[in-house]
């Protein structure tokens, strides 16, 4: 699997906010076998160096994000700062439309994506399942799309499964990552079963009673879901269908 020019083996992308301690965070990252971790910096800024140093020690690829940005200008400035601080041209682009619902603002998102890709960024946009917004993002230069499963931190899973299936069918060759709203491993597995290429999550692991164990649970679920997708999942039937032959059974009458 490729995200831009980068080959990845793990299809789990893990957020780094809200863990009980940096030590537990590091252990959870290691346990999850993720290769990509997202990091925010809107609030921490340059003064968050110690935390970044700790994150550096786990030796994963950084995907800095623009969490907390509400306008194109804020998002672009934050992305530029991220490039400087993390020495990467990857950016998870979030432009929030409403402070309570944390929905993406698709108009500002497309505009910011265009500015950033022209500036050489590899943009991972946090978007909705809307197909036309997805198209505009691709036109703007994005090569990955990250639709939400449900609102950030809600743990509701795939709130609009049929639309996500449509999105998968529509963008056949674009890497699609479900970003946000995943609460349990079964939800992550489900997204993988319907053909998504990866899962980005944070709260479900960070706020679990045992984040390290939960990281393992998501790791396994995502692998299982992806295997199932590749193996071909049977269609549902209305009736029972015996899996053993009914001819030649012994007649005891």
């Amino acid at each position: 699997m490729m995200f831009y020019d980068h080959k990845i083996n793990s299809r789990l992308l893990l957020g780094t906010a809200g863990y009980p301690s940096p030590e537990i965070l590091s252990d959870a990252i290691i346990e999850s076998q993720t290769e990509i971790i997202t990091v925010s910096l809107r609030r921490e800024g340059k003064a968050g160096a110690s935390f970044r140093t700790l994150l550096n020690q786990v030796n994963k690829k950084f995907l800095p994000n623009t969490a907390g940005c509400h306008t194109v200008k804020e998002a672009v400035t934050t992305a530029q700062m991220a490039r400087e601080l993390f020495n990467t041209d990857w950016i998870k682009l979030e432009v929030i439309g409403n402070a309570d619902t944390l929905q993406p603002d698709p108009f500002a998102l497309v505009e910011a994506a265009r500015i950033l890709t022209q500036d050489g960024f590899k943009v991972f946009p946090y978007t909705t399942e809307d197909l036309i917004v997805g198209e505009k993002l691709l036109e703007a230069g994005c090569e990955v799309l990250m639709p939400w499963g449900a609102p950030i931190g809600s743990g509701q899973g795939l709130r609009n499964i049929e639309a996500l299936r449509t999105m998968r069918a529509y963008f056949k060759n674009v890497p699609l990552i479900v970003d946000a709203g995943i609460g349990s491993p079964s939800q992550a597995a489900h997204a993988m079963e319907i053909g998504f290429d990866g899962i980005l999550l944070n709260t479900a692991v960070a706020k679990a009673k045992d984040p390290i164990l939960m990281a393992a649970a998501f790791r396994d679920a995502i692998v299982a879901g992806h295997h199932a997708y590749r193996a071909g999942i049977m269609e549902k039937r209305d009736m029972a269908y015996a899996s053993t032959p009914i001819y030649g059974l012994a007649d005891f009458n």
Partner: protein, 304 residues
């Protein structure tokens, strides 16, 4: 009997000095008047069970002994428990909190704090918890030490060094990092509470601790940053919004003070006693200074 120089007069330094003097050791305390002491901005909650939601076991295990220790040493400890609330649309947060903590009961919040009236239909009560006034308490520890002949000064240390300088020791202790916390104090005479109240929220949890003279301490943000500059507008908006959610009468409260402190923290957010270049270091209290300093001080004197 040895002679000790405790460096730092925050909660850690004063607990260590108190413990040493109770073991009849000779102690002096070296202060730095220009340094912003994080302890003075603390909430002063002695709430080991609530903290247990995300804190390691040591906090829960040893936190309870802190309540006794502080009761025996200072006058402002109120053993009135903690009340945990959530706005109606976030009641699921209460269930989450209950499942991650112990020693609580479900209550009708109004039955404990009548001023809440019927604003919240349910809450979690942690009856064994307590709170104190950090500034009064540190003042009292200091006076008691001075009465016992402990000298506070700003000159060079003359005894064996116990460094309790919090985030100022960052350069010497490479694993120590700062976690920025923002708080404020306001005054309101329209509402009175007798226990600390925590308001759960998926993004902006906060706590409100009643102080004397109608004052309340409202805290605190947690930002992985070494930036000690004044409170951010966002923090102010979020925290005041939470206070307003607890009781709309706080809209007429008067702001007394805002503050920003840097919590000294190790990667596991657990304090440590270390020995390096001839000095002892007691550091890494994170957000549990008042809760863990007595225990850490005790561990230190036990080692001697």
């Amino acid at each position: 009997m040895s002679s000790w120089s405790v460096i730092g007069s925050g909660v850690t330094g004063l607990c260590v000095a108190t413990m040493l003097s109770e073991y009849n050791e000779k102690v002096e305390v070296i202060e730095s008047p220009d340094v912003k002491t994080a302890s003075l901005l603390a909430g002063g909650m002695l709430a080991p069970f609530c903290e247990g939601e995300s804190a390691p076991d040591i906090v829960v295990e040893y936190g309870m002994t802190a309540i006794e220790w502080w009761s025996n040493h200072v006058s402002s400890v109120k053993k009135t428990g903690t009340l945990v609330l959530a706005p109606a649309r976030d009641t699921v947060e209460l269930k989450n909190f209950a499942s991650k903590t112990q020693s609580h009961t479900w209550v009708a919040p109004e039955s404990l704090e009548s001023d809440l009236s019927n604003r919240f239909s349910q809450g979690l009560f942690f009856p064994e918890e307590a709170h104190l006034d950090p500034r009064l308490s540190l003042k009292e520890l200091r006076s008691t030490l001075i009465e016992k002949g402990v000298v506070f000064h700003t000159n060079k240390p003359s005894g064996k060094i116990v460094d309790c300088t919090g985030i100022s020791a960052e350069k010497t202790l490479p694993n120590l990092r700062a976690v920025r916390g923002e708080m404020l104090i306001f005054e309101s005479h329209d509402v009175s509470f007798s226990r600390s109240i925590r308001l759960l929220h998926p993004r902006f949890p906060c706590y409100l601790v009643p102080r004397h003279n109608g004052q309340f301490m409202l805290g605190a943000t947690m930002v992985e940053s070494h930036d000690g500059s004044s409170i951010s507008a966002k923090a102010l908006i979020e925290m005041l919004g939470s206070a307003y959610a607890i009781h709309p009468a706080f809209a007429e409260a008067r702001l007394v003070e805002t503050g920003t402190g840097l919590r000294p923290s190790f990667p596991n957010n657990v304090p440590e006693i270390t020995y390096q270049d001839g000095c002892f270091f007691i550091n890494g209290m994170y957000r549990h200074g008042f809760l863990l300093a007595p225990y850490m001080a005790q561990q230190f004197v036990k080692k001697l």
